[in-house]
Point group: C4
Amino acid sequence: MAFSRFLPFRNSILAGAANVKASFWSNTGHGISTFGPDLAIDAGSSSVRSYANYTVFKGKAALSMTPVLPTIRKVDISKVYKNGCVMVTFWPAIGQRKYDWQKKQAFALSPTEVGSLIALGPAESCEFFHDPSMKSSLEGQVKKTLSVSPLGNDNGYFLNLSVVNHVQKTNERFSVPVTKAEFTVIRTVLSYVLPHIMGWPQALRSEVPSKATNLQKHQYVGEEVLRDPALEWER
Amino acid sequence: MAFSRFLPFRNSILAGAANVKASFWSNTGHGISTFGPDLAIDAGSSSVRSYANYTVFKGKAALSMTPVLPTIRKVDISKVYKNGCVMVTFWPAIGQRKYDWQKKQAFALSPTEVGSLIALGPAESCEFFHDPSMKSSLEGQVKKTLSVSPLGNDNGYFLNLSVVNHVQKTNERFSVPVTKAEFTVIRTVLSYVLPHIMGWPQALRSEVPSKATNLQKHQYVGEEVLRDPALEWER
Amino acid sequence: MAFSRFLPFRNSILAGAANVKASFWSNTGHGISTFGPDLAIDAGSSSVRSYANYTVFKGKAALSMTPVLPTIRKVDISKVYKNGCVMVTFWPAIGQRKYDWQKKQAFALSPTEVGSLIALGPAESCEFFHDPSMKSSLEGQVKKTLSVSPLGNDNGYFLNLSVVNHVQKTNERFSVPVTKAEFTVIRTVLSYVLPHIMGWPQALRSEVPSKATNLQKHQYVGEEVLRDPALEWER
Amino acid sequence: MAFSRFLPFRNSILAGAANVKASFWSNTGHGISTFGPDLAIDAGSSSVRSYANYTVFKGKAALSMTPVLPTIRKVDISKVYKNGCVMVTFWPAIGQRKYDWQKKQAFALSPTEVGSLIALGPAESCEFFHDPSMKSSLEGQVKKTLSVSPLGNDNGYFLNLSVVNHVQKTNERFSVPVTKAEFTVIRTVLSYVLPHIMGWPQALRSEVPSKATNLQKHQYVGEEVLRDPALEWER
């Protein structure tokens, strides 16, 4: 199990990396670290949320995953629902144990993309393409590709992000090797968070605010009919 | 991994489909969309719940899965308990990226049927039969069949719904190919929601409204005895 | 998939069975039913909890599983902690679709026994022995044995309970065949409920009553020290 | 399934062990027991939390696992975030069914180390090294090693902890065989608790304090922008 033998080494890198920009953060080598502009800004409003990520620091780059819940925003009289996602952020190493958050690139995993990561077999790979200007005249000008390919021998995966921008004439590439143990953490938290970014727990909670109310509700409310399995026989 | 290469294509279909009837909904290609009469009606009363579904749009039809919690309704002095289920709704495509919600047909998955979907192996298939008039004189007049069969090469499954109505002399068929990634989302949310449609989390919550109360409760209440594992030795 | 083809048949048995003793309960054939003395008594105090079970009706007997949370009871100045469990109850068929709850026998699964059911492979079997008078003079007078053995061809398992009582000179046996789909429901809810019967969610909840309080808490409280991973270096 | 046949025997050891130091604790042979200084101290402040562990008693030693949530502590104007972990504590047997809590040694599993235990295959092993003085002049003076190796024939694992202290000239070793069923309990609760020690549920909860507030929030608040998947296209 090479990966676990080398864990302390990797962790010391991590600890070092964390100390560079945020020496005041405790870092007990848990492979989790939280810093960078948005998190810093964020810490003001909601300090707990800003720590909900999983960060892996490697030689050439770091990657971090964090959940984004669905939201409902009122626009005039109508409501606009925005799907949740899992945001994957890459940023490059700029020296030993130094990483430049300014150069970060993000990729928002959809529920279905999360599903394909959860299902990924030891020898399988997958690839996702995002185009911000899909179905516009600019379609194809900017293209983001996240590819996941096996390290071999069931040792984990390479996560590669490439961002090609034909307008700015830039082509950025990030590559982070993720051990089997680290990918298991990712798969476990993705499985946990998937229903949340799809809004299911929030909906289930909204159905049973409390047992009492629940009983209340179901004695009178007409919506009850809506939720009757017998409905399967109607149109 | 053909399925992931084609994801963007499928997503653009989806985005298009969503725009047809609900151009005001944001749709970032996450394979989730929420519209149709009942959801619209519903949006008034409880906007969060109405988004708790997983919808897949394909060439010939779309399918959507949404959880239905168990309910307790008071009828005179007695309580009527209605089991929860996972409602699967199919509706047909009526042109490129156009779907007709009016022609929808629903199938309510029982906990055990959910269990067989969760357990389904890559090369396995299963079939469920529902008859609204079971054990009545009309038994067999209307029959719904949901069948799930593998696409082959561990690429996902075909979900087929057929509704035969001997009274109305109608025979409707829906067929939706679901990729391995999409089925993993389905399997993951079904595993998450199964205890909920069986009422377990609600029950566990009702047992520990708060630590304090919990202690209170267990000092005096006789029901405590009811929950004593030692009861295994009594009748 | 024989089991799914026969599901409607089994469900009609179930529906019938439910109607025998509790015709006022709705039963939409979901393989869940709730009746019998303790549940009836219970329904008064906490109607939601009494539905948190999973019941399977077969030709010779029925079985039901329900979670039992750990409890803390005050005895004089000290607290007595009682472990949670999953209660498995068997009761015999006394005719077509008729079951006699009075003749029920219960078996309380410990967390470790729950673990061995979750881990059970398709061709594996396991067996648990409980003796109420363990380490007393009566040791061995009454013995309960729950055995789980495969039906073959990955079709599910036989759940057998035998209760031998040398005092009352009785020997009762129950045998319920459980399909792969039904066992998947059992495995899924057991995995869900295992941390609960071990008291983990309650404990985690008691640690973060609210974000604010949490921050409060950790600024002053000495117990904080208790929870410092650095403690790994102390005695 | 040797392990289940021997379960009653192991449980009686356990029951005995518990009785030695804490005869007033009920112990129904569930493989869970809660005693020892820190828990005792702790019981005063938060009795529920102190029971959230999983303890296995074997011939030469006992081991216990308990979750530790991440914490945020205010230091002057900045906040210090401390990662959560799963604390594994070993203590030696000092005679038949007698264990000495004073001689305990603890090992704090990081999220990534938890991940490698969850991913561990039946024939695989792994090893973790912790050094309290990593990157200090004392580096290497004290070393803790937790190794997990298969018992063979898919029967479970040996969990071994060694603590070498060159300063105190001590070398302590603990070895606890864990059955497949017991490791399944461990794997199941580790999978459950992993997102919690990473702070994800707390963060998700802090996002949706209530549906109403949620809607409120998203109509006005600027942070909303922060959480917009479209952000994937910005820097």
